[in-house]
Each structure stands twice: as structure tokens, then as C-alpha cells.
Symmetry: C2
Subunit: 338 residues, 2 copies
């Protein structure tokens, strides 16, 4: 069943059927009705591929993320997909993993499929190195590219990011100003936002004239889900004699590991150990006590990113960068001076 069949049944030309299908105003109401009746009767649906070929778009947008099951990224995907759908777009999702070549392949695949735009979800995607820049630029030459929680100066690349530097700086300052100086900064990503966060921590220490002991910045190499691994990792540090009275984590899951560590070792939270996480995810609520964490305004960022995307696709001039401020949400793992 194709447009010719419908046109024959309705006694009109294919052009008229096409106009009806596309809601063109230049169709006599009676004709429209006649055609619609036939369409409904046969349950006809225009062939999306042919349509795509004619219009050079299938209204689909590529979403690439490293790992769609990640607590944080999955939320981003949810928000982005929902907003795009409201605007009439479909999403082609792919998980690139954290490997370089796979990321590039994912991007190339999207371009091949001729998506209208590509959204790179999660700063984990963007390693902020020249190699990455190169292939994102290549992609941007074909389709506009939108980055969530990353930043890049490149034509046809648009970003929505949380000011992680500032947010982490604030979190660190809050700890310092409540009298804690031995702050262990715990992170598990060298990604774009990972660097920004680390920078924020360092900057806070500088501002308050604290020495930044190298071993108070620890990189956790384990899986993104291995809370117990984090716990063991911290136990190890303690065994080595490292002293810290706060854990400032680049992700809630690391913070959850820190809480677990404290319990295991009979360390009182927040009296003997303060913990601050990042993302303010479900994990912060699940933990006991609940974890103080940075809300990085994910929903708003996703909303704005999609808004920008739609604008660009409609040919509007859009700002290349949107920046939101994070916010420290005080819960049970800190006792901060306000």
C-alpha cells in the first residue's frame, strides 16, 4: 500500500495525497476528507524511508553516551529524549563506552544515518584532548553537535554545562570553613567535567591557603558501580596511614563508598568524617545518613540543550554556551557552617 494506491482509491493525484498527509493548507476540505477516509480505511502510513529521502531528514537525533545504565547518564537520556519527542524528534541511542575509537565510531555512525543533530551526553564523553576535538569537529561539519556537561569552541557545536568548577570550589570551601582541612578529594574520571571539578577543589585550597597534599587527591580506578570497591580502596588508604576528615567526591557513588567505609571502621559521620557527593542522585537518599551532594541542575540543562537544538534546527540563532550553577544540597553527611 503506497501513495499511488491511495490516490487511485480516492480519485485524486499523488500530489494531493501527499498534501493531505503533510497538512498542506492548499487542499479543499472536501478533498481532504475524501482522502483521509481512504487513508484511515486502509490504515495507510507513508513510507518513512521515502519520506526521509525526499525531505533529507527523518527527524531523528542521535544520542551518544558512554553508558546508558549509569545513574546520572540515564537520567540525562530520559530528559533529553522526552524533550525531543515533544518536539517531534526521535532518538537513536548508542552507548559508546569509554574507549576512544568506539566513541569516534559511534559518532560516525550517527552521521552516516543522517541524523539531524548529535547530542553527546555526559562529560565522560568528552576527553578534552585534540583527538576528540578533531572528530567532534568533523561531525559538526555535517550536523550540529550538542554537548551536555562539556565545552568546546567550535562552529556548530553547542554546550550546556554546569559550572562544576565553581560548584566543587564552593563545596570544598564549605568544608574548609567549617574547620576541616584534611579533605580527601576522590574522583574516578579524567573527563572534561572531572578536570573542572578537580580544579575547583584545588582552587578552594589555594584560596584558603591550604597545602594540597598530593595523596589527598585520589583517583579510583574501579567500576562505576562498585561501591564496595570504593570502600576497600579507602580502607587501604587508611591502612597506609593517610589521615582525612572529609571526603569530597566527584560522584555520589564514591561518596556512598565513603559512607560505607566510615561505618565499617566505626567512624562517626559527620562528626569524625564529612562526606560530600556530586549529582545529588538516588544514592544520596538511599544511604544512611543521607549524603550531602551537589545538585548540578541536570533537568534544566537537558531542557536548555534540547531547546537550543530545536532552535538550531529551525534555523534560529542560538547561544553556543549555556552555563548553570550547581548547588550544594545539605544533608546528613556534613555539618557545615553557613
Amino acid at each position: 500500500m503506497n501513495i499511488y494506491d491511495i490516490s487511485k482509491q480516492a480519485g485524486v493525484s499523488i500530489a494531493t495525497v501527499s498534501r493531505v498527509l503533510n497538512g498542506s493548507p492548499n487542499v479543499k476540505p472536501s478533498t481532504r476528507r475524501k482522502v483521509m477516509d481512504i487513508i484511515d480505511q486502509y490504515g495507510y502510513t507513508p513510507n518513512a524511508f521515502a519520506r526521509g529521502l525526499g525531505l533529507d531528514t527523518m527527524n531523528s537525533i542521535g544520542i551518544i553516551c558512554a553508558d546508558s545504565s549509569d545513574l546520572y547518564l540515564s537520567k540525562a537520556i530520559y530528559y533529553i529524549e522526552g524533550n525531543l519527542r515533544k518536539n517531534g524528534y526521535n532518538c537513536i541511542l548508542t552507548c559508546s563506552g569509554y574507549n576512544h575509537d568506539d566513541k569516534e565510531a559511534a559518532l560516525a555512525m550517527m552521521i552516516n544515518r543522517r541524523v539531524d543533530a548529535v547530542i553527546l551526553v555526559g562529560s565522560n564523553y568528552i576527553e578534552a584532548d585534540d583527538e576528540t576535538n578533531r572528530y567532534i569537529m568533523n561531525a559538526a561539519a555535517q550536523s550540529p553537535v550538542f554537548l551536555l556537561n562539556a565545552s568546546m569552541d567550535c562552529p556548530n557545536v553547542f554546550c550546556a554545562t554546569c559550572d562544576d568548577f565553581k560548584a566543587m570550589q564552593d563545596a570544598a570551601l564549605a568544608l574548609i570553613d567549617s574547620g576541616i582541612t584534611d579533605i580527601l578529594y576522590l574522583y574516578n574520571s579524567h573527563s572534561y567535567s572531572g578536570r573542572r571539578k578537580l580544579g575547583g577543589y584545588r582552587s578552594a585550597c589555594e584560596i584558603r591557603k591550604l597545602d594540597i597534599a598530593q595523596d589527598l587527591m585520589q583517583f579510583y580506578e574501579g567500576s562505576h558501580e562498585d561501591i564496595d570497591g570504593v570502600c576497600r580502596f579507602l580502607c587501604g588508604l587508611r591502612a597506609q596511614g593517610l589521615v582525612f576528615r572529609a571526603v569530597l567526591a566527584s560522584e555520589d557513588m564514591l561518596a556512598a563508598g565513603a559512607v560505607k567505609y566510615a561505618k565499617k571502621n566505626g567512624i562517626a559521620i559527620p562528626d569524625e568524617l564529612s562526606v560530600i557527593g556530586y549529582n545529588n542522585s538516588l544514592l544520596t537518599t538511599c544511604s544512611d545518613p543521607e549524603i550531602t551532594s551537589v545538585d548540578n541542575k541536570l533537568e534544566a540543562l537537558c531542557f536548555q540543550l534540547v531547546r537550543t537544538c530545536i532552535g538550531v534546527l529551525n534555523g534560529e540563532k542560538m547561544p553556543p554556551k549555556i552555563i548553570y550553577s550547581g548547588e550544594l544540597v545539605h544533608k546528613g553527611t556534613t555539618r557545615l557552617v553557613h
Copy 2:
């Protein structure tokens, strides 16, 4: 830049270019090289829409889930997408929400886009009522449909499910057999698997000749992320005088709420209250003590579902149903007799 341009540059016909592009064996090696050189030189990529039109497929598969940010569903998506990608398929993802019409619309959209198959992720999608059956059957008339954690007898519909009935029955029996009779069954979904789980609980009670007090089966209406809401809900039940010495939950998040409730009220786990969750997700590790939970073999199910899907698309005869057994993973919220 299209296939004509390439053919002109390479001094061959478009048919030859097409053959090179599609890896046809009937091309002289020297010709292939000549064509490939031009293709590489211009970075040419065949138009996916035209290809789709010609082949009547773009190798894409629709994934529909209620909520891609759900801890459990997001994992399913991750596994499914990964497996499909390995087999050369792309995924079009959409979140239908829990509303009936939206689900139907999502399904219709996938069919319109002419996906090769549709995968419905999560039993939440399948309400096991006639209305749902109708539109899934409609869809199945166009493309094969694959259900994760749901079941349906319908041509062109294939399922991979965990035997939730049995798993929940086993969990309940384990509690009963360790001497606990006041088991509060807590659930938050009337979905296909939700019913199966409830059935398992009831069956266990019957087997052990326990009366099933109606108020020991409680439905939680709040959000799927509101752990505190669950906690309040249980506090409410307690205030009303309901006595229970175990919480058997249809989802880990509910179990996490139960743990929180116990702590808030100074109830010792597992001595005074046992808790069992379902899905064995990250939440079980995050909680203190860690939550005993049912592992429902999600990864294996996803693997098999995709395997079935690929088989069907290759024209192979595939089994319409795959059933795995769940497994109770003992952790800290129970002290069960083995």
C-alpha cells in the same frame, strides 16, 4: 556527493560503486581498489535514506520502555542496545511513560518508522489486559515484537522472562521457613510481572497454610524514586497498628525504603525486621545493611532476547518463550535458614 559522483570519478558505473559499497564478491580487486580510493578521498558515505528505501530496512530496532532512567530499565536498555549494536543494528529509543495511549502511540511511531523489530522493555510496559494485547498484536502484524519480562501468546511476539512467580514464592518461603509469618508484601506495580510476583507470595502463604491478611499486601502509589515516601508510608502503616516482621518488596527501591523505616524507628534489621528486595540492583549495595534481593538474571535475559531477535530477523525459527529462574541473593537484611 552521491554515488553518481563517485562512479564518474572512478570511471565505473554506479552499479559497480554500489557493489563495492556492499561488499559484493563480484568485483575485480583492481576495480574495487580504484573505487575505494575515490570513496576514501571524498569521504563519501551512502545516503542512508536511499539505502533504506531500496532495501526496505535501515537496520534499526525500536526500544520502548516506560522510563529509561529507572535503575532496572536503564540496565536493560544498556544490555539490549549493546547486543544489538554488535549485530549491526541501531536502536531507536523512546520512553512511553506508564500511560496507555502514550504506549500505543510509541508503538505506532516505531512501526511508522519501519523499524525491523520492536523491543518492549520491562514488564511495566505490558499491562496484560486486552487493550494492550490488541495494540501489541497490531504491531506484531507489521514487525516482530520482543518482550522483556512479560509474556504473551501471539504470533510474531517473542518473550524472555524471569520466572518471577517462582522467585517470589521462594523468597516468601525462605522467610516463612525461618520462622517469620507476619510478612508485609509491598509492591508498586500492577504490571505483568507485578502480578506474577504477588501470585508467588500468595502461593507461598497457601503452601505453608498461612492466612493472607489483606492488609499485609500493600500497594505503594508514590514515585519510583521516592525512598523517603516509602519510609513514610510504612511509618503510617505502623501507626495504624499493622504488625509485620518482614517486608517482601517487589522492587529494591521499596526495600530500601523499608530499611530506612526500620532505622528511623529503631527497629533492628534483621533481628526485628527482615527485608527482601527484587532486582538486586545498586541500591542493595548502597544500603546498610545490604539488602537481600532477588537476582532476576537481567543480563542473560537481554542477551537471549536479542539473540532471538536476530534469529527471527535472519529468518530462523526461534522459540517464542525463554524463561530463566530468579535467584535469592542473601545479604544483610535477612537471617534465613538454609
